[in-house]
């Protein structure tokens, strides 16, 4: 993604992933998708002006390697004119470039497959998770499903940008629960960006969630809502 979109990519990890262990299927190197990288070549015509801020259909810029004849250009923090990459102080260009960069990051969703819901796409409750809580969340949801509850699970692998259709996926459920080993970071993003209310299960005790703990807390959330509904009739 970093080379396809020419953007920094941050990989979030956590202590549980770093310290935990589980059997992993070893991939065959030959089955791994290649990461194609292209660098523009030196122009054949000397008069040809290199455009370092020209963008492809995903809005990604060319990656010209220092050392290539004729492609000298400057990158850096000052705003650049679209296409030419000249330093620009033009207000309209600045607006255009800010919008372009934001759209480029959203274009990640044109390359990454959307996340799949585990369980029915509609129901009483969706558990939304990310990172090292995957195992505990998936197993807890499986137990609750086996006990007859209408519960599904969605695990995010890409947190920014959020998947394009995530809002609609979440709205298929009466309630969204986000278990996190922090005080509610993903919950803030979901509520802020998608305006979908969510209930947090949060813990910062330096220990991972246990399956039983999640099963109990999710069951209690389901029960509380049933009691609310019963009281409001």
């Amino acid at each position: 993604m970093a080379t396809r979109l020419m953007t920094p990519v941050m990989v979030l990890s956590d202590g549980y992933i770093a310290n935990g262990s589980e059997p992993w299927r070893i991939p065959d190197v030959n089955d791994l998708e290649p990461i194609p990288v292209q660098h523009p070549a030196a122009p054949t015509d000397e008069a040809e002006k290199f455009l370092p801020y020209l963008r492809d259909q995903l809005l990604s810029r060319p990656w010209a390697l220092p050392g290539t004849v004729g492609l000298m250009h400057r990158v850096g923090g000052l705003e650049k004119e679209d296409r030419t990459g000249n330093v620009s102080y033009d207000p309209a260009n600045h607006q255009h470039m800010v919008n372009t960069r934001a759209q480029k990051v959203r274009n990640v969703n044109d390359v990454v497959a959307p996340p799949q819901i585990f369980g029915p796409p509609q129901g009483d409750l969706l558990v939304l998770s990310w990172g090292g809580t995957y195992g505990a969340c998936r197993t807890a949801v499986t137990h609750l499903q086996q006990a007859g509850h209408s519960v599904s699970h969605l695990h995010l692998r890409w947190v920014n940008p959020l998947p394009s259709d995530l809002g609609n996926q979440l709205r298929g459920f009466q309630q969204v629960v986000i278990p996190e080993l922090n005080t509610g970071q993903l919950r803030q993003l979901i509520q802020g960006q998608l305006q979908v209310p969510a209930v947090g299960i949060n813990k910062v005790e330096g220990r991972p969630f246990s399956v039983a703990e999640l099963v109990d807390k999710i069951a209690a959330i389901l029960q509380a809502r049933e009691a609310d509904l019963a009281a409001s009739v």
Partner: protein, 337 residues
Amino acid sequence: MNTVLPVLKANDFGSDQDIRWCPGCGDYSILAQMKKVLPDVGIPPHQIVFVSGIGCSSRFPYYMNTYGMHTIHGRAPAVATGLKIANPELNVFVITGDGDALSIGGNHLLHLIRRNVDLNIILFNNRIYGLTKGQYSPTSQPGHITKSTPTGSLDHPLNPLSVVLAADATFVARSIDFNTKHLGETLYQATQHRGTSFVEVLQNCNVFNDGAWEHLTDKDVKDDNLLVLRHGQPMVYGKNQDKGVRLSGLSPQSVVLGGEMTEDQLLVHDQSLPEPHIAHMLARFSNPELPVPIGVLRQVSRPCYEEQVWQQVQQAKSKSKGDLNAIFNSGDTWTVA
């Protein structure tokens, strides 16, 4: 095959961008000298990269028709190190300011220098944060009144040359924006050094710290305040070349030549001394007791970092051909029936 190389001129190295430094800023002079020196160095623009941090000085790369990276405050050394390792053929310059190099980038600077990556660092020292409109910097003098020290700075200043000598810099020099000929020569010498070369350029910020180096640039007094270092020459200075520096015990001392005091009693400059003691001493010379040295304080040889990295890579390659599948399947693995 012999290819005829085009003869490059100073203008071939300048970009067509508007320069946004204040009129009268010392940065113009450094830019002009750099453009003038590069044709003599004989490297075409596409093999040169200027890497900078943040500050007025760090806008420098935009004004050169080479590759350029205006990076993050204080982080030019990290980017430049990566660049030089990735492609040792490139000629890399780090352009930085007293704030960029010695405040936020202080630790990066030290590690670049101790590794002796083969590149050139030019530090524009105007003893102030210019870009942010005049706050005190790590080289500001005690008592200096600035926007962020309204009742005078309490901080003991850093001496850039002492700092880089402590990191065992292999090429250490100082020059002055006003002294264009000396500046050009010093920049040229820096480009000829293999390893990290460090040049402190005393630069006037005529808007926020005007006259910071006046005692070294004013034509009436400068010659009595400056010591122009020349390799192999006795340390003579003064308007009439009538003063010198000698060692009295372990301490340097300024003396007036004449009578019993002859040139052969003076210190003779040797920039190639393996131990940096004398260079350390020179770096600390300050007015009025002693003249401020300009020129090359130290030039010694030590292996370059990027060269050693590539040696390690070659060694590893000669021992075994990398096989990703083999690595994947090594260690704690088993087959599921």
